[in-house]
Symmetry: C2
């Protein structure tokens, strides 16, 4: 299939289209700190939504770790919606806004408005994500509330464009 042009509604997110890769770190009061490598791809088929695909793997053994996938879409007036399915039995709906950080880079600030927790999944209560991006770089932070732990920083990664 020939590549369709980017939908005009996606132009504020155009720099996300492609693939980014790099290192990340995780920590949380209930677990040991860990490191990972991550690849993130945002694609499109000409509609006003970006398809999102993410995978992480062990930096040493290269064994697959986490994966999540879904869609990111502009919702008008600088608002964005991020629909994510996780391998470990969770669906995550985040809503928030798109603005510029103090350093002039684009920023998405999102919080969960819905979390689906399957019977075998861990009882995450709340997630907050911040993504910053330009044409060559995508970095993010994730905060999480889990069981009795209030919202606490959990993940940070700094990815560079590879495609």
């Amino acid at each position: 299939m020939s590549k369709p042009p980017l939908h005009p509604a996606l132009s504020p997110l155009a720099e996300l289209v492609g693939t980014f890769e790099g290192p990340g770190t995780g920590h949380y009061p209930t677990i040991d700190p860990f490191e990972y490598r991550e690849r993130v791809t945002f694609g499109h088929v000409g509609k006003p939504v970006l398809a999102y695909e993410q995978a992480t793997w062990d930096p040493v053994s290269e064994a697959p770790m986490h994966a999540e996938r879904g869609y990111l879409r502009p919702a008008g007036d600088g608002l964005v919606e991020f629909m994510i399915a996780h391998v470990f039995g969770i669906t995550e709906l985040l809503e928030g806004d798109h603005d510029r950080a103090d350093d002039g880079r684009d920023r998405l600030r999102l919080t969960t408005t819905s979390l689906g927790i399957a019977g075998t999944a861990k009882p995450v209560r709340h997630v907050r994500r911040e993504l910053r991006f330009d044409a060559e770089r995508l970095d993010y932070d994730v905060w999480m509330a889990y069981r009795e732990v209030p919202e606490t920083h959990h993940l940070a990664a700094d990815l560079r464009r590879v495609a």
Copy 2:
């Protein structure tokens, strides 16, 4: 990357691995009936979860219509969990069981245990899905409750293996 072996936990779902394509039809009290073509792919990376990717398009113009993606995983004792993100601002968590239909084919019967509805999305209240499959065929039905409409049949498709 070389293809890892299928995780033993996925052996009951092994016939889903690959790509299926075929026609579908949709109807609902609030909309005009419609037809579509659909492609579904289930993949894996050696972990006990299937990655799910789906897209539909207009049978005549070939313009993209719907898309959804997520993960399907066995949850023990014949239970399954299906985590889905939709392009149109919805996350869908379904849980149910895996058994055999009267005709001997494998069957997954799933109902939503959580639905995330973004601010711009349509207020779906409930979804029920039944998927039937063997090595060459994947067909399904979807029922939906939406606004004041109680659970009503919405989608049916009959796909054949293409890869």
